[in-house]
């Protein structure tokens, strides 16, 4: 059965999701304008796979690379914020289930959160 607090939890989550998407889209857009103004005349090369530069491939790399002269890093930061949005959603659900004192769902949610953190933080 859904309880009142499940419903309330869901409404807060929906606001969280929308805000996360909006902020990340704005950062990506800013980075994109910056990218086009600097590299607009260059030829894109996506036919052959080279893998994105190392600084664009990890959380710490992206954060360290962010500065006004590296537009790609700004886009990557926006994309990272986007990836973090569903993670924040799961973390928030964990808090919600804790407030509801639902041990089973706290454990289930923790497993999901651990998988997400592993994916982003562990070297692959």
């Amino acid at each position: 059965m859904k309880t009142w607090s499940d419903q309330r939890l869901e409404v807060i989550i929906s606001v969280l999701l929308r805000t996360g998407v909006l902020i990340s889209a704005l950062v990506v857009l800013l980075g994109g304008i910056c990218f086009l103004s600097k590299h607009g005349d260059e030829q894109p090369e996506y036919r052959v796979f080279h893998a994105a530069p190392a600084s664009d491939r990890s959380v710490s790399g992206i954060i360290h690379a962010v500065n006004p002269s590296d537009c790609q890093a700004v886009i990557q930061l926006g994309l990272l914020l986007l990836i973090l949005t569903p993670m924040a959603r799961v973390a928030f659900s964990l808090a919600g289930f804790a407030l509801e004192r639902d041990g089973t769902y706290m454990a289930l949610t923790f497993v999901v959160l651990a998988i997400l953190i592993y994916s982003l933080a562990a070297p692959h």
Partner: protein, 278 residues
């Protein structure tokens, strides 16, 4: 072609894909990758990376709207996300070890399924009479709003649904798609969750599933900022537009149109996979 020409082109293609995806309920990710590889010759790994990012954006944006309506079931979603995120990790690892021609082939078969699904429309809900002990234990049964007041429902075949969700997650991580169609089948057909609850809960789960493979894609260099930027913004803009147009649109005609486009793409993806041209 320079970036100033390439970026708007990719944005346009992605916006059309996002709009069609929202209108038909199949999501834009499944069309973006074949469009980028077939039309623009983008390496399938870059296309998959960009598509996955767009999937997170549309899922989170759309889920926000659906959650408010009170249809999605947060417990079913969270429980099944264990299966989809583990599947997504597995799929993303597989993706880095699978030759691109095989990826293209698998993509083709998934597209055939999407085309078939799109031309079929929504199935009828069947009520569950037998209670599933696991569903009761996990508090998966719920209710959704209907014109005649809250409509209660029960969930069955929890284990079957869970295993199918692992498969859906694997496919999502392997191909950078939301695999919403498979998630809906697992809930609607196997677990007998009402269709509306299945679709909205699936949407809710897609973002979390995709986020699980995104970390691996990122560290493998699949997410190329110059390409992911117009794809993410395009699909997002298109899907917002598509969701607005949903009321009053000729969905039946669109479904057939979408099925046709996806069918052609399926044949092309399979052909280029067989020729090893990807």
């Amino acid at each position: 072609m320079t970036n100033l020409e390439f970026t708007p082109l990719v944005f346009g293609i992605s916006a059309v894909a996002g709009c069609l995806g929202a209108l038909t309920g199949l999501g834009g990710g499944v069309v973006v990758t074949p469009a980028l590889t077939l039309l623009l010759g983008v390496d399938i790994r870059y296309a998959i990376g960009a598509s996955l990012v767009s999937v997170i954006a549309t899922s989170s944006g759309a889920a926000a709207a659906f959650i408010r309506e009170g249809y999605s079931n947060i417990r079913i979603g969270m429980f099944l996300e264990i299966a989809t995120t583990m599947g997504a990790l597995f799929g993303a690892y597989l993706a880095t070890r699978t030759p691109t021609s095989i990826l293209s082939l698998i993509f083709g078969f998934v597209l055939i399924h999407a085309a078939w699904q799109s031309s079929r429309g929504r199935p009828k809900d069947e009520k569950v009479t037998k209670t599933d002990a696991l569903a009761t234990k996990l508090k998966l049964n719920g209710s959704y709003p209907s014109p005649d007041g809250p409509c209660e429902y029960q969930v069955s075949h929890v284990k079957t649904g869970f295993s199918m969700m692992f498969g859906a997650g694997t496919l999502s991580g392997l191909l950078g798609i939301g695999s919403g169609a498979l998630k809906v089948i697992a809930m609607d057909q196997a677990m007998r969750v009402p269709f509306k609850v299945s679709t909205t809960t699936s949407n809710f789960m897609i973002g979390v599933t995709a986020a699980a493979s995104a970390g691996i894609y990122l560290s493998r260099g699949y997410i190329e900022p110059g390409l992911a930027m117009p794809v993410m913004l395009g699909v997002l803009a298109g899907s917002i537009l598509g969701a607005r147009q949903l009321i009053g649109a000729k969905v039946r005609v669109l479904r057939w149109l979408f099925a046709g486009v996806v069918g052609v793409m399926a044949v092309e993806m399979i052909a280029s996979g067989l020729k090893g041209k990807v």
